[in-house]
Symmetry: D2
Subunit: 148 residues, 4 copies
């Protein structure tokens, strides 16, 4: 599943749309895109060499501060898609991820979105983004319109 191991700027997470992720309109249910976003975040962290489970062992958590998705073209059961994910902003206490939902050939943006996350400890206090995390991240923009 690793697309660009040397560069580590973005990651393409493969998703096969499950039956239970569709709804009676016949396409993928809109809330599930955020589940896929989260799955791709996990894979990006692993890809960067810092599994999110390691962060949680250090009592660091990344709850979502806000989340957005724009839906261009519907996806269907059993469709093979890719969630392209990158860190697009890294501030003192927060980090922003952007996502492109790409078709199997990766020549069409089916959806686009972002999530912002604050770093907190196990007492729900905001903490600075750890230096080790900052060191691993290369900021990269994922446009709403064009595919790299």
């Amino acid at each position: 599943m690793v697309e660009n191991a040397t560069e580590k700027r973005f990651f393409d997470c493969e998703i096969r749309v499950r039956y239970g992720e569709t709804d009676c309109m016949g396409f993928s249910y809109y809330a599930n895109y955020f589940v896929w976003f989260e799955a791709s975040r996990s894979e990006l962290f692993r890809h960067l060499g810092l599994p999110y489970t390691e962060l949680e062992k250090q009592k660091i958590y990344l709850p979502v501060a806000d989340a957005y998705c724009k839906y261009n073209t519907s996806t269907s059961y059993d469709e093979r898609i890719f969630i392209r994910v990158a860190v697009t902003q890294c501030k003192m206490f927060s980090m922003k991820f952007s996502y492109q939902v790409l078709n199997e050939k990766k020549d069409q943006i089916l959806a686009w979105g972002y999530t912002t996350h604050v770093f907190i400890d196990d007492k729900k206090q905001t903490v600075k983004v750890p230096a080790e995390v900052k060191a691993l991240v290369t900021l990269y923009e994922l446009s709403e319109k064009t595919i790299d």
Copy 2:
């Protein structure tokens, strides 16, 4: 939502099928029945006077040991159904709940199932069903075939 406050033998939990709970076959997705079972368990506990959150404060948890559902008739988006739930068995370390999924008029069993739960503490050790829980529970059978 309380149907039989004095008797406390079973509880009817109202569910309105959500769009996201259906799939592209046009009906409710089968795994969601287990979500509704869980929602009805919560309501039954509250109805008995012992919210499940109270149990968890006492570091008592009820993970599922096994789960079964038999689907008779499909349900659809926006359908109003009832999950009738009762405790059907109470052993030393475990408890069994049974469920009838009833239509709005409560004259048809759309699905039927059960779940068995073990009682554990926060170290994942099995513990005895607390006396206070046993005291609150009246065993009651919910048949697969007939509605009370």
Copy 3:
């Protein structure tokens, strides 16, 4: 569940957070807010006298064009919350809904969001918002900051 039957400007949809809607951080999973938004939309339509199922019988569908949620305060299992929903924009071919996630007392905004929907027919062609829908809707702003 009807809060303001005479005025029909907004609707407060009661939600009891389900166990399966939480995640291992201990709070409600972020994608589920969009599921609740959808549940509240259904109730708003019913409240206005035009169930969404009726629209679908007329082969009119409202897929989501975009969706946003801002999370202020986490919610937990068994918490009783309200999704306050209103139509905040009605254009030629689309409609925007806004949402406040309120605590049980309705004195705190736990989250806030919106969704935009296009009207399409069963051939996935964009159609005008039906006059009967427009006639039923009273535009109403739900602020990110203040509760009415």
Copy 4:
């Protein structure tokens, strides 16, 4: 993901537990095992050379008649597991699948279950299991206790 392409008796579907698939007890939510069962069914059908989407094009659907899962050991966020799936029964109008949820090393059965499916057409009439489906299937037992 193909483990045994020549023999086609069972299929091991890789699952990475998503954050949203856990609950506030800290482990995977019980209903999601049925979602994974379904994902593995899809992969088994594809593996057999008959994607489920092809069946649906022929207006043949396989709704679930009943479903069971026994949970031995919990699974956690980001855990890599396998759903081993096989067809364990093929009758005139129905088919039964069994599932083992295996740990990453495939030396432990974390959960075990089955689902039974009836074959229906688009008028919800029961139909015979198509000969082409029967021809592709090799019955294979997946024990609750031992791993092949």
